[in-house]
Amino acid sequence: MRVPAHLLWLIPALPLLAAGIGAFAPRTARRTTAGSAIAAMAISFLLSCGALVTALRDPAVHAVHNFAWFDLGHGALRLGWLLDPLTALMGVMVTLVGLLIFIFSAGYMAEDANFKQFFCFLSLFGAAMLGLLVANSLLLLFICWELVGLASYLLIGFWFHQPSAAAAAKKAFITTRIGDLGLLVGLLWLYDATGSLLFFDGGEGVLEAGPLAALSAQTTVGGLAVSTAIGLLIFCGAAGKSGQFPLHVWLPDAMEGPTPVSALIHAATMVAAGVFLIARVYPLLAADLTLPSAPLHALSVVATIGAITALLGAVIAVGQNDIKRILAFSTVSQLGYMMLALGVGSWVTAIFHLLTHAFFKALLFLGAGSVIHAAHHEQDIRRLGGLRAPLRVTFATFAVGMMALAGVPFLFSGFWSKEAILHAAHGWSVSQLPFAAGLIAVVLTAFYTTRLVAEVFLGTPRGEGAARAQESPAVMTVPLVLLAVCAALLGFIGTPWWPWLQRTLDPTFATEPGGFGLMAVSIVLVATGLGAGWALYARIPRSSAGEADPVERRAPRLFAALADRLGFDELYAATVGRLNAWTAAFADALDRRVWDGTVRLLAGLGLFTGQVTRETDENLINGGFDAASGGLRSGGRAYSRGQSGDTHSYLRYIAIGFTLIALAVLLGVRR
């Protein structure tokens, strides 16, 4: 089956249709909505496979289908679809992971009153995410980008009656929107500088040689190339969506959403959209590399932020006690690795890690969901424990995911993709600091994953929920098994001996020989982390929920700082939050005091003039006439009554007054 570019719209359209069905179906139509959502995702998966087959026939080609959205000026604003291996591989991943998570959700959410709405929102998310992948226009990508943000908002706040969920949803939307402002300005700049937002358009597209050369040839503020400035602005959006430092704060809070949502949106797919975006516009960010005198390369910023995020996420994950928050910080850290790979110039390994991470992190989150489901909504690892025996399938699959995340050698996919990233970082000519950060994060990752597994599955149950735990139904465990298979095997598409994935994405990709020394180093580091974790947590498992954490016992202040996520939320509340509140108070006070005050002053002046006129009328003019004519006096009184503050008479006087002035002006100028 082949799916050419002009049929790509079907891939997002089917989930959109399912979302429409979900929106209009009655609340009780649970089977219909869930069924249509799963069916739509399944067909989209087949179509994506077809698209992949089509794209693989000639991997170097960017097949496009552009069309006019609406008339603008002498032309039209054009959007388009794009088919290349990057789109197709991402599409297959998103639809496959999505399909498995949709099926899992049918079990996980079975008792929820808003089951129908859940599948409606999931389908909406699927449509927007797939639209983002097939877009051949930064504008269309941005539209879908915001729509995945909407779906994320709706799903984080799915249990909106809980204030924490409602607050987390808002925080996610606002924080990502801060980054999106940068993306929007970058997009506007790109549009203004090139006259197009299409990626590929027969030589005219913004990712093609001509426009790119023009962009990097111009300079702007601070001697930056225009392409650097635009690239950095676009990166702001990617940093927001992909939870990069300093905008990472929303992602852990997003765990307020149902666990399948955390797995699909906040681990496997949407948060990786930032990485996808940077990979997509990679030629734009790389355009300044050829400039000898550029003060700053856009990719260096990406590498720095990625390295900081990789380390920061791994550090904070060590001090968390909520099973989902540990995984969330782990996601932050892994996304940092991907950005790091992009920054050091190896976008193909970033995508490699994105794909493997999608499977093993979805597996871990669904495994966590299975644990939470089984343990009666207990999420605190201190009150779990001993779940290895009752949850056999969950434990086995979770262990596979954990080893993939930790980078246990050879048999697990995470090892190969992380290894590729470290290799690329080692080869970066600018600095070795990102590489060093990556190595430290390797140890920490192995450490916190061991802690997680040991606390949850080993020892004895330390809470009521864990004690009564029973294995989840097949609708939940079968997706776990399938994901575990992928999480183990997927690494083999990109090993140094057979870098199929890298060559498919980038036909010019060249494997450098050697690197086995590096591989040995990282194996040692993984072993160190695993060993430390084993020594502290697994050798003598925790016996009660109240017992202090081994790290806490040794370094109480450090652990408290980590548990508090290093205070980023407090810092932002004290700075950005306060600035926002002050600005609002200022705007309001300005209106109430200054502008409304001015209006009142003018009104007061008007009233004062009225008073003066009235006094003059009564005492001076009327006083003189009074003696002369009683008839005129009553007329004067009648006139003075007009100055009573009555709206209608004021209106009348204003009208008369201005008619007179108008006549005076007319006559005056005529003469």
Partner: protein
């Protein structure tokens, strides 16, 4: 001409309805409702007829009616319709019946409807008149019914708010009238097209004392002031929050959707064509004021605890985008090259934003009205909680309006705002970058509103809150559907206005 005078019908059918309601003997309440709704819907019917005969490719006014009226003053009864007028007529046709429908349960409905229809006809007159004389009559006439709608059917602070609204606006209009009086004495005509001609070739400026003369400046400022108060341009906006907040729901809907567009229309139809050079000179300052409206309007909304005041402030913010775009275009006029493309985008965005804001702001006022009606007139942001739990349909419809208002792609609001930003960025990049902060502030205050009122546990005035029945939702459904349709397929509107704005941008000395 054998053809029906469609434009006159547009204006006079609502007035006829108003007169009939006021003068004919009292009937049953249901009959009043049907009759008033029919009179209000006449606009939509005629607008659809106009849409069929309208040729978007012709940029000159169409369906023109021109009759000599007052010979001594060279005044003609002159109506015409171009793309700009058409979308505003369509907007009026959509919003007015919905606003009237939302007011069915107001007391003394017959009087309400009579005033409302008078207001509707006057607003349509403003969008169609091409001669200052009766344009100004329509312009001022719209105030009187608005005044009574607010004062009689409004909330507890309505008297003061209505008084301030009318006096402030009339104060501004007085300068507008003075300005036109001197324009007439200089040019001898009230006709917009002739005045624009004279303005474009500079002869009007010569007649008023030459470029840079203080008299010319004074006339320009007078006209500017009259329009600025009406829109309103920051900082002439302080009458708006109390007026919108105290007005009854139906009137708030109409005021924000249609009446606020009269000011922007005036800028596009009058100020810019007649005073192109003066506007260009003043544009940097005016852009600062428009940015003030964008930013401080949005941040001001954040501080409001009264939901109607919050929506009112968001209108200040949204309309400031329109003005920002226009000022940026005026500022750049005369420059060549890529500016023309940016100007086209900015002007398209302005026109789309006028329509889109009309839909979304009216819908939001309707929704706040529902909250108010079902909670015994409470509309504080802290008076509710968990409304989405008890009223999912109402929450969904409000949600669409809210996301349309905050410019979510996929809904109508995004298209206009994107084009405005695209245009302004090409003409004045710094202004676009600063204005983008307004998008963030809008998201913050709207989502805070949503979080406090619709999410969280069911508390405050929410227990016992009933969801909308489908019949109650009817005034909202067409707007909601259009928000989605125009978000996905903006060509429906863009096709009507694109040739016009392209022509404007092409000359950069508009018609």
């Amino acid at each position: 001409m054998s053809r029906l005078p469609l434009l006159s019908l547009l204006v006079f059918l609502p007035w006829f309805g108003a007169a009939a309601l006021a003068l004919l003997p009292r009937l049953s309440e249901a009959a009043h409702r049907r009759f008033a709704l029919a009179a209000s819907l006449s606009t939509l019917a005629v607008a659809l007829a106009l849409l069929r005969g309208f040729d978007p490719a012709r940029t000159a006014p169409q369906f023109v009616e021109k009759h000599a009226w007052i010979g001594a003053l060279n005044v003609n009864y002159h109506l015409g319709l171009d793309g700009l007028s058409l979308i505003l007529v369509l907007l009026t046709g959509l919003v007015a019946p919905a606003a009237l429908g939302a007011s069915f349960r107001s007391g003394e409905f017959r009087g309400f409807a009579a005033f409302f229809l008078t207001l509707q006809g006057a607003a349509l007159g403003v969008f169609l008149a091409l001669d200052f004389f009766h344009w100004f009559i329509f312009w001022e006439l719209s105030l009187i019914p608005a005044y009574f709608l607010i004062k009689i059917w409004g909330g507890p602070g309505a008297t003061r708010a209505a008084y301030q609204f009318v006096i402030y606006t009339i104060g501004g209009s007085a300068f507008l009238l003075l300005g036109f009086a001197s324009l007439f004495s200089a040019a001898g005509t009230f006709d917009f097209q002739q005045l624009a001609q004279l303005g474009a070739d500079g002869s009007l400026a010569r007649k008023l004392g030459g470029d840079g003369s203080w008299w010319l400046q004074a006339v320009f400022l007078g006209v500017l002031l009259g329009l600025a108060v009406k829109v309103p341009l920051w900082p002439f906006h302080t009458w708006l929050p109390p007026a919108y907040a105290e007005a009854p729901t139906g009137a708030s809907m109409f005021l924000t959707a249609v009446m606020s567009k009269m000011g922007v229309y005036g800028f596009l139809r009058i100020l810019w064509p007649i005073f192109p050079r003066e506007l260009q000179a003043a544009a940097p300052w005016l852009m600062v004021l428009a940015l003030g409206g964008v930013l401080l309007g949005a941040w001001g909304a954040m501080r409001q605890t009264d939901l109607k005041r919050m929506v009112a402030y968001s209108s200040v913010n949204h309309l400031s985008y329109c003005l920002l775009a226009l000022f940026a275009v005026a500022h750049a006029s005369g420059k060549s090259g890529a500016f023309s493309e940016a100007a086209t985008a900015a002007l398209s965005g302005t026109l789309l934003q006028m329509f889109n804001h009309g839909l979304s702001a009216a819908a939001l006022f309707f929704c706040v009205g529902v909250l108010e009606e079902r909670s015994g007139n409470r509309r504080g942001v802290d008076d509710f909680g968990g409304v989405r739990t008890v009223a999912p349909l109402f929450a969904a419809l409000t949600g669409v309006a809210m996301f349309s208002s905050l410019g979510l792609p996929g809904l109508n609001g995004f298209v206009g705002e994107f084009l405005i930003f695209r245009g302004v960025f090409g003409l004045a990049p710094w202004a676009a970058a600063i204005a983008a902060l307004g998008l963030l502030a809008t998201a913050i205050f709207l989502l805070t509103f949503w979080q406090r009122v619709f999410h969280g546990p069911v508390v405050g005035a929410t227990p016992g809150f009933k969801d909308l029945t489908l019949a109650e939702a009817v005034p909202l459904l067409p707007a909601t559907a259009l928000m989605v349709i125009l978000g996905v397929y903006p060509q429906l509107l863009a096709g009507l206005i694109n040739p016009l704005v392209t022509a404007w941008a092409g000359q950069l000395t508009p018609p």
